[in-house]
Symmetry: C2
Subunit: 170 residues, 2 copies
Protein backbone atom coordinates (compact mmCIF):
# COMPACT_ATOMS: atom_id res chain seq x y z
CA UNK A 1 0.00 0.00 0.00
CA UNK A 2 1.38 3.34 -1.11
CA UNK A 3 4.71 1.78 -1.98
CA UNK A 4 5.69 3.18 -5.33
CA UNK A 5 8.70 5.28 -4.44
CA UNK A 6 6.99 8.56 -5.21
CA UNK A 7 4.24 8.63 -2.65
CA UNK A 8 5.32 11.91 -1.19
CA UNK A 9 6.86 13.78 -4.10
CA UNK A 10 3.59 14.67 -5.76
CA UNK A 11 4.09 18.31 -4.87
CA UNK A 12 6.92 18.69 -7.34
CA UNK A 13 10.54 19.68 -6.82
CA UNK A 14 9.77 22.22 -4.12
CA UNK A 15 9.13 19.17 -1.91
CA UNK A 16 12.18 17.23 -2.94
CA UNK A 17 13.25 17.10 0.69
CA UNK A 18 10.42 14.77 1.61
CA UNK A 19 10.50 12.24 -1.16
CA UNK A 20 10.52 8.65 0.06
CA UNK A 21 14.20 8.46 -0.81
CA UNK A 22 15.08 11.54 1.20
CA UNK A 23 13.03 10.19 4.05
CA UNK A 24 14.87 6.88 3.89
CA UNK A 25 18.22 8.63 3.96
CA UNK A 26 17.10 10.62 6.98
CA UNK A 27 15.99 7.45 8.72
CA UNK A 28 19.29 5.73 8.10
CA UNK A 29 21.24 8.82 9.13
CA UNK A 30 19.29 8.90 12.37
CA UNK A 31 20.16 5.27 13.02
CA UNK A 32 23.87 5.68 12.31
CA UNK A 33 24.15 8.99 14.13
CA UNK A 34 22.54 7.61 17.26
CA UNK A 35 25.16 4.92 17.33
CA UNK A 36 27.90 7.53 17.21
CA UNK A 37 26.05 9.57 19.78
CA UNK A 38 26.17 6.77 22.36
CA UNK A 39 29.49 5.20 21.41
CA UNK A 40 31.82 7.20 23.66
CA UNK A 41 29.80 6.99 26.88
CA UNK A 42 29.16 3.30 26.24
CA UNK A 43 32.88 2.70 26.02
CA UNK A 44 33.49 4.45 29.31
CA UNK A 45 30.62 2.67 31.04
CA UNK A 46 32.07 -0.77 30.42
CA UNK A 47 35.00 0.20 32.67
CA UNK A 48 32.53 0.58 35.52
CA UNK A 49 30.30 -2.41 34.71
CA UNK A 50 27.43 -0.05 34.01
CA UNK A 51 25.20 0.33 30.97
CA UNK A 52 23.39 3.01 29.05
CA UNK A 53 20.51 2.91 31.51
CA UNK A 54 22.81 3.99 34.32
CA UNK A 55 24.08 6.87 32.20
CA UNK A 56 20.58 8.14 31.54
CA UNK A 57 19.63 7.97 35.20
CA UNK A 58 22.76 9.81 36.27
CA UNK A 59 22.30 12.42 33.58
CA UNK A 60 18.79 13.40 34.60
CA UNK A 61 19.50 13.24 38.34
CA UNK A 62 22.32 15.68 37.75
CA UNK A 63 19.97 17.84 35.73
CA UNK A 64 17.20 17.83 38.33
CA UNK A 65 18.72 17.13 41.75
CA UNK A 66 16.22 15.95 44.33
CA UNK A 67 13.88 14.60 41.68
CA UNK A 68 11.51 11.83 42.75
CA UNK A 69 11.70 8.36 41.29
CA UNK A 70 8.31 8.90 39.74
CA UNK A 71 9.37 12.06 37.98
CA UNK A 72 12.50 10.38 36.66
CA UNK A 73 10.29 7.57 35.42
CA UNK A 74 8.18 9.80 33.24
CA UNK A 75 11.27 11.41 31.76
CA UNK A 76 13.01 8.14 30.97
CA UNK A 77 9.89 6.42 29.71
CA UNK A 78 10.59 3.03 31.27
CA UNK A 79 8.80 1.08 33.96
CA UNK A 80 9.57 1.77 37.59
CA UNK A 81 10.74 -1.81 38.00
CA UNK A 82 13.32 -1.34 35.29
CA UNK A 83 14.55 1.94 36.70
CA UNK A 84 14.58 0.51 40.21
CA UNK A 85 17.20 -2.09 39.36
CA UNK A 86 19.48 0.57 37.93
CA UNK A 87 18.97 2.94 40.86
CA UNK A 88 19.63 0.19 43.37
CA UNK A 89 23.07 -0.55 41.97
CA UNK A 90 23.91 3.15 41.77
CA UNK A 91 22.85 3.63 45.39
CA UNK A 92 24.73 0.51 46.55
CA UNK A 93 27.83 1.75 44.76
CA UNK A 94 27.52 5.15 46.42
CA UNK A 95 26.98 7.21 43.26
CA UNK A 96 23.42 8.20 44.07
CA UNK A 97 21.82 9.09 47.38
CA UNK A 98 18.14 8.41 48.01
CA UNK A 99 16.47 10.48 50.71
CA UNK A 100 13.01 9.72 52.01
CA UNK A 101 10.71 12.64 51.36
CA UNK A 102 10.01 14.86 54.34
CA UNK A 103 6.56 15.96 53.28
CA UNK A 104 5.50 12.69 51.65
CA UNK A 105 7.42 9.75 53.05
CA UNK A 106 6.44 7.56 50.11
CA UNK A 107 8.70 9.54 47.85
CA UNK A 108 12.43 9.13 47.44
CA UNK A 109 14.45 12.17 46.41
CA UNK A 110 17.53 11.42 44.36
CA UNK A 111 20.90 13.19 44.43
CA UNK A 112 24.33 12.51 43.01
CA UNK A 113 27.11 11.94 45.52
CA UNK A 114 30.59 13.28 44.84
CA UNK A 115 31.50 10.04 43.08
CA UNK A 116 28.30 10.31 41.08
CA UNK A 117 29.15 13.83 39.99
CA UNK A 118 32.58 12.64 38.92
CA UNK A 119 31.26 9.82 36.75
CA UNK A 120 28.55 12.04 35.29
CA UNK A 121 31.18 14.58 34.31
CA UNK A 122 33.32 11.94 32.64
CA UNK A 123 30.39 10.62 30.61
CA UNK A 124 29.01 14.03 29.72
CA UNK A 125 32.39 15.36 28.71
CA UNK A 126 32.79 12.54 26.25
CA UNK A 127 29.33 12.96 24.81
CA UNK A 128 29.60 16.74 24.67
CA UNK A 129 32.91 16.51 22.88
CA UNK A 130 31.36 14.46 20.10
CA UNK A 131 28.39 16.78 19.95
CA UNK A 132 30.56 19.87 19.94
CA UNK A 133 32.65 18.54 17.07
CA UNK A 134 29.54 17.81 15.05
CA UNK A 135 28.03 21.21 15.82
CA UNK A 136 31.22 23.03 14.97
CA UNK A 137 31.58 21.18 11.71
CA UNK A 138 27.98 21.77 10.66
CA UNK A 139 27.71 25.37 11.81
CA UNK A 140 25.09 27.38 13.73
CA UNK A 141 22.37 27.35 11.09
CA UNK A 142 22.58 23.60 10.63
CA UNK A 143 22.38 23.20 14.40
CA UNK A 144 19.21 25.27 14.53
CA UNK A 145 17.66 23.06 11.86
CA UNK A 146 18.86 19.95 13.62
CA UNK A 147 17.13 20.98 16.82
CA UNK A 148 13.93 21.90 14.99
CA UNK A 149 13.64 18.54 13.29
CA UNK A 150 14.48 16.63 16.47
CA UNK A 151 11.82 18.45 18.39
CA UNK A 152 9.23 17.79 15.70
CA UNK A 153 10.12 14.10 15.90
CA UNK A 154 9.36 13.72 19.61
CA UNK A 155 6.10 12.35 20.87
CA UNK A 156 3.66 15.24 21.26
CA UNK A 157 3.01 14.46 24.92
CA UNK A 158 6.69 14.61 25.82
CA UNK A 159 7.15 17.69 23.70
CA UNK A 160 4.78 19.75 25.76
CA UNK A 161 6.71 19.01 28.92
CA UNK A 162 10.05 19.53 27.27
CA UNK A 163 10.04 22.49 24.85
CA UNK A 164 13.48 23.97 25.56
CA UNK A 165 13.98 25.29 22.06
CA UNK A 166 13.01 28.93 22.25
CA UNK A 167 15.68 30.78 24.12
CA UNK A 168 16.12 34.52 23.91
CA UNK A 169 18.76 36.07 21.70
CA UNK A 170 20.60 37.40 24.77
Amino acid sequence: MAENGMSSSVGGEARLFLTDDQLRKGIEAMFFAYRGFTADPDRILTNYAYGRAHHRAIHFIKQAPGTSVNNLLSILGVTKQSLNRVLRTLIEDGLVESRVGTKDKRERHLFLTDSGVTLEAELSDAQRNRMRAAYREAGPEAVAGFRQVLEAMMDPELRRHYKPNKEGTS
Copy 2:
Protein backbone atom coordinates in the same frame (compact mmCIF):
# COMPACT_ATOMS: atom_id res chain seq x y z
CA MET B 1 38.62 18.18 34.04
CA ALA B 2 37.22 21.12 32.08
CA GLU B 3 33.97 21.06 34.04
CA ASN B 4 33.11 24.63 34.81
CA GLY B 5 29.99 25.19 32.76
CA MET B 6 31.69 27.55 30.34
CA SER B 7 34.25 25.27 28.82
CA SER B 8 33.13 25.96 25.28
CA SER B 9 31.72 29.47 25.32
CA VAL B 10 35.07 31.19 25.53
CA GLY B 11 34.71 32.41 21.98
CA GLY B 12 31.93 34.80 22.90
CA GLU B 13 28.34 35.02 21.76
CA ALA B 14 29.08 34.11 18.18
CA ARG B 15 29.54 30.56 19.53
CA LEU B 16 26.46 30.52 21.66
CA PHE B 17 25.29 27.40 19.82
CA LEU B 18 28.00 25.30 21.39
CA THR B 19 27.89 26.30 25.00
CA ASP B 20 27.68 23.40 27.41
CA ASP B 21 24.04 24.20 27.96
CA GLN B 22 23.22 24.16 24.27
CA LEU B 23 25.13 20.92 23.96
CA ARG B 24 23.16 19.40 26.80
CA LYS B 25 19.88 20.42 25.21
CA GLY B 26 21.00 18.84 21.95
CA ILE B 27 21.93 15.65 23.77
CA GLU B 28 18.57 15.43 25.47
CA ALA B 29 16.73 16.28 22.26
CA MET B 30 18.59 13.47 20.52
CA PHE B 31 17.52 11.04 23.23
CA PHE B 32 13.87 12.05 23.17
CA ALA B 33 13.69 12.24 19.40
CA TYR B 34 15.14 8.78 18.95
CA ARG B 35 12.39 7.43 21.14
CA GLY B 36 9.79 9.04 18.91
CA PHE B 37 11.68 7.83 15.86
CA THR B 38 11.35 4.17 16.88
CA ALA B 39 7.97 4.32 18.62
CA ASP B 40 5.69 3.58 15.67
CA PRO B 41 7.62 0.64 14.20
CA ASP B 42 8.09 -0.79 17.69
CA ARG B 43 4.35 -0.75 18.22
CA ILE B 44 3.75 -2.59 14.96
CA LEU B 45 6.49 -5.13 15.63
CA THR B 46 4.88 -6.34 18.83
CA ASN B 47 1.96 -7.60 16.75
CA TYR B 48 4.36 -9.95 14.99
CA ALA B 49 6.44 -10.93 18.03
CA TYR B 50 9.45 -9.23 16.46
CA GLY B 51 11.75 -6.54 17.79
CA ARG B 52 13.75 -3.59 16.59
CA ALA B 53 16.55 -5.87 15.47
CA HIS B 54 14.24 -7.59 12.98
CA HIS B 55 13.18 -4.22 11.63
CA ARG B 56 16.77 -3.16 11.02
CA ALA B 57 17.62 -6.40 9.26
CA ILE B 58 14.55 -6.21 7.04
CA HIS B 59 15.22 -2.56 6.26
CA PHE B 60 18.74 -3.08 5.00
CA ILE B 61 17.95 -6.30 3.15
CA LYS B 62 15.26 -4.40 1.29
CA GLN B 63 17.77 -1.65 0.61
CA ALA B 64 20.49 -3.99 -0.65
CA PRO B 65 18.84 -7.18 -1.92
CA GLY B 66 21.23 -10.09 -2.21
CA THR B 67 23.55 -8.69 0.42
CA SER B 68 25.77 -11.16 2.25
CA VAL B 69 25.43 -11.74 5.95
CA ASN B 70 28.85 -10.28 6.48
CA ASN B 71 27.99 -7.08 4.68
CA LEU B 72 24.82 -6.71 6.70
CA LEU B 73 26.92 -7.26 9.80
CA SER B 74 29.20 -4.34 9.09
CA ILE B 75 26.22 -2.08 8.41
CA LEU B 76 24.34 -3.02 11.55
CA GLY B 77 27.40 -3.01 13.76
CA VAL B 78 26.45 -6.06 15.80
CA THR B 79 28.07 -9.46 16.16
CA LYS B 80 27.26 -12.19 13.71
CA GLN B 81 25.84 -14.29 16.52
CA SER B 82 23.34 -11.59 17.37
CA LEU B 83 22.32 -11.08 13.76
CA ASN B 84 22.11 -14.81 13.21
CA ARG B 85 19.35 -15.28 15.76
CA VAL B 86 17.28 -12.59 14.10
CA LEU B 87 17.88 -13.87 10.58
CA ARG B 88 17.04 -17.43 11.57
CA THR B 89 13.58 -16.48 12.79
CA LEU B 90 12.95 -14.32 9.74
CA ILE B 91 13.95 -17.18 7.45
CA GLU B 92 11.89 -19.74 9.40
CA ASP B 93 8.88 -17.44 9.20
CA GLY B 94 9.35 -17.04 5.47
CA LEU B 95 10.06 -13.31 5.41
CA VAL B 96 13.66 -13.64 4.26
CA GLU B 97 15.22 -16.05 1.80
CA SER B 98 18.85 -17.10 2.11
CA ARG B 99 20.57 -18.36 -1.04
CA VAL B 100 23.98 -20.00 -1.02
CA GLY B 101 26.41 -18.00 -3.11
CA THR B 102 27.20 -19.39 -6.56
CA LYS B 103 30.65 -17.93 -6.91
CA ASP B 104 31.69 -18.26 -3.28
CA LYS B 105 29.66 -20.98 -1.61
CA ARG B 106 30.58 -19.75 1.84
CA GLU B 107 28.38 -16.74 1.40
CA ARG B 108 24.63 -16.50 1.92
CA HIS B 109 22.76 -13.94 -0.11
CA LEU B 110 19.69 -12.46 1.53
CA PHE B 111 16.41 -11.43 -0.08
CA LEU B 112 12.99 -10.42 1.16
CA THR B 113 10.12 -12.72 0.20
CA ASP B 114 6.72 -11.26 -0.68
CA SER B 115 5.68 -11.45 2.97
CA GLY B 116 8.95 -9.78 3.89
CA VAL B 117 8.31 -6.95 1.47
CA THR B 118 4.84 -6.50 2.94
CA LEU B 119 6.06 -6.20 6.52
CA GLU B 120 8.92 -3.93 5.49
CA ALA B 121 6.44 -1.63 3.78
CA GLU B 122 4.20 -1.51 6.84
CA LEU B 123 7.11 -0.62 9.11
CA SER B 124 8.69 1.86 6.73
CA ASP B 125 5.40 3.58 6.03
CA ALA B 126 4.90 4.21 9.72
CA GLN B 127 8.43 5.49 10.22
CA ARG B 128 8.36 7.60 7.08
CA ASN B 129 5.07 9.17 8.13
CA ARG B 130 6.58 10.37 11.37
CA MET B 131 9.69 11.58 9.57
CA ARG B 132 7.66 13.30 6.89
CA ALA B 133 5.58 15.14 9.46
CA ALA B 134 8.71 16.31 11.25
CA TYR B 135 10.36 17.38 7.98
CA ARG B 136 7.27 19.20 6.82
CA GLU B 137 6.93 21.03 10.10
CA ALA B 138 10.58 22.04 10.24
CA GLY B 139 10.98 22.94 6.57
CA PRO B 140 13.64 22.23 3.93
CA GLU B 141 16.42 24.33 5.41
CA ALA B 142 16.05 22.78 8.82
CA VAL B 143 16.13 19.35 7.19
CA ALA B 144 19.39 20.17 5.45
CA GLY B 145 20.89 21.22 8.77
CA PHE B 146 19.51 18.16 10.48
CA ARG B 147 21.20 15.90 7.96
CA GLN B 148 24.49 17.78 8.22
CA VAL B 149 24.67 17.46 11.98
CA LEU B 150 23.65 13.80 11.93
CA GLU B 151 26.34 13.00 9.43
CA ALA B 152 28.95 14.82 11.47
CA MET B 153 27.90 12.77 14.47
CA MET B 154 28.55 9.38 12.87
CA ASP B 155 31.70 7.42 13.48
CA PRO B 156 34.26 8.49 10.89
CA GLU B 157 34.78 4.94 9.66
CA LEU B 158 31.11 4.42 8.93
CA ARG B 159 30.84 7.85 7.42
CA ARG B 160 33.28 7.08 4.66
CA HIS B 161 31.26 4.08 3.57
CA TYR B 162 27.96 5.91 3.89
CA LYS B 163 28.18 9.51 2.65
CA PRO B 164 24.83 9.87 0.87
CA ASN B 165 24.47 13.58 1.57
CA LYS B 166 25.64 15.28 -1.57
CA GLU B 167 22.98 14.95 -4.18
CA GLY B 168 22.70 17.30 -7.14
CA THR B 169 20.44 20.33 -7.05
CA SER B 170 18.25 18.87 -9.82
